[in-house]
């Protein structure tokens, strides 16, 4: 099952790396108390999804490469998300003078 690939690196190896990157991002997203680190974890998760898309595009959809187009769109949306997220973070910092995630409980209960 692992042998029927084209190159020396099987598809599953890329998927495993992407899975690890995604789980690290999820853990950081839950556990970070610095708001900037939360945004960094989101970027890690988006990169994991991109690795999945690119590896499927190269191994299974090698002639049409729809996965590469999708990952370009994901990169675009990630750039927009980072810009807006950091702007929100800056205005939050001006209002509350902290970036501790535990103190952003304005909408809680």
């Amino acid at each position: 099952m692992l042998e029927n690939s084209i190159g020396p690196v099987p598809l599953q190896a890329y998927l495993i790396v992407a899975a690890f990157l995604f789980c690290t991002g999820v853990w950081g997203l839950i556990n970070s108390r610095n708001a900037v680190r939360v945004l960094m974890s989101i970027e890690l998760m988006l990169n994991a999804v991109n690795i999945n898309l690119m590896s499927f595009s190269s191994y299974i959809d090698g002639s049409i490469i729809r996965g590469q187009v999708f990952s370009i769109f994901v990169i675009t949306v990630a750039a927009a998300e980072a810009a807006v997220g950091l702007a929100i973070l800056l205005s939050l910092y001006r209002n509350r003078v902290t970036i501790d995630m535990e103190s952003f409980n304005l909408l809680k209960w």
Binding site: I6, G7, I65, A79, A83, E102
Partner: protein, 200 residues
């Protein structure tokens, strides 16, 4: 196994170990500045994986957008908000980290099991290699034209939204709206959104 195969294998092993160690360091390191620089390293290693997958255009886009724009933006945000603050201790933080680590480890095991036991449809059609850039251009201007244009609108909206959100003082233009006198006095007094007691 000829030399090209072993070179590709070694490159993949180096890049994936950089990704794994770098992502762990991004999440776990105490100093946020180190995390930001290591995040740039992880992005570049991901771009190297794209090069191994015969996708030079997406690798260049990854370097330009992620390392050149997003990472620099994150560094600027860190410089703007980098205040040494003592975080309030929370009870049950250790147990929370432990539980979430268990959940993420379970998710990892699930993903590993799915990716290993699934019968992927391999080998697919032969990869077109370096013609990928032309093919991406054809896709973007024929069957993915609408998402492409929507992406440009999204980027414009994000740019305007970021400017509006990060502007220092937002005053309401009241020259032509005479009815909102109260709002003008509100914005002139610069009442903070939260009272002083809640900031403590």
């Amino acid at each position: 196994m000829n030399i090209a195969f072993s070179t590709e294998l070694i490159c993949f092993l180096i890049l994936s170990s950089v990704i794994v160690a770098g992502s762990l360091a991004v999440v776990l390191l105490e100093n946020i500045v180190y995390s930001a620089f290591l995040l740039g390293g992880v992005f570049m290693a991901v771009a190297g994986l794209y090069l191994l997958l015969n996708a030079s255009f997406v690798a260049a886009a990854q370097i330009l957008v992620y390392v050149g724009a997003v990472n620099v933006l994150i560094l600027f945000a860190i410089m703007l908000v980098n205040k040494k603050e003592k975080l309030k201790p929370i009870e049950g933080l250790k147990i929370r980290k432990f539980i979430s680590g268990g959940v993420c480890g379970g998710l990892l095991l699930l993903l590993l099991r799915v990716s290993i036991t699934t019968k992927w449809n391999l080998p697919g059609p032969t990869s077109i290699g370096e013609e990928a850039t032309e093919r991406i251009g054809e896709h973007l201007f024929t069957d993915y034209l609408l998402p492409f244009e929507l992406a440009s609108i999204l980027l414009l909206m994000a740019m305007i939204g970021a400017i509006v959100l990060a502007r220092r003082d937002v005053s309401i233009p009241t020259d032509d709206i005479n009815d909102f006198k109260d709002q003008k006095s509100l914005s002139d007094k610069k009442i903070p959104l939260l009272s002083e007691t809640s900031l403590k």
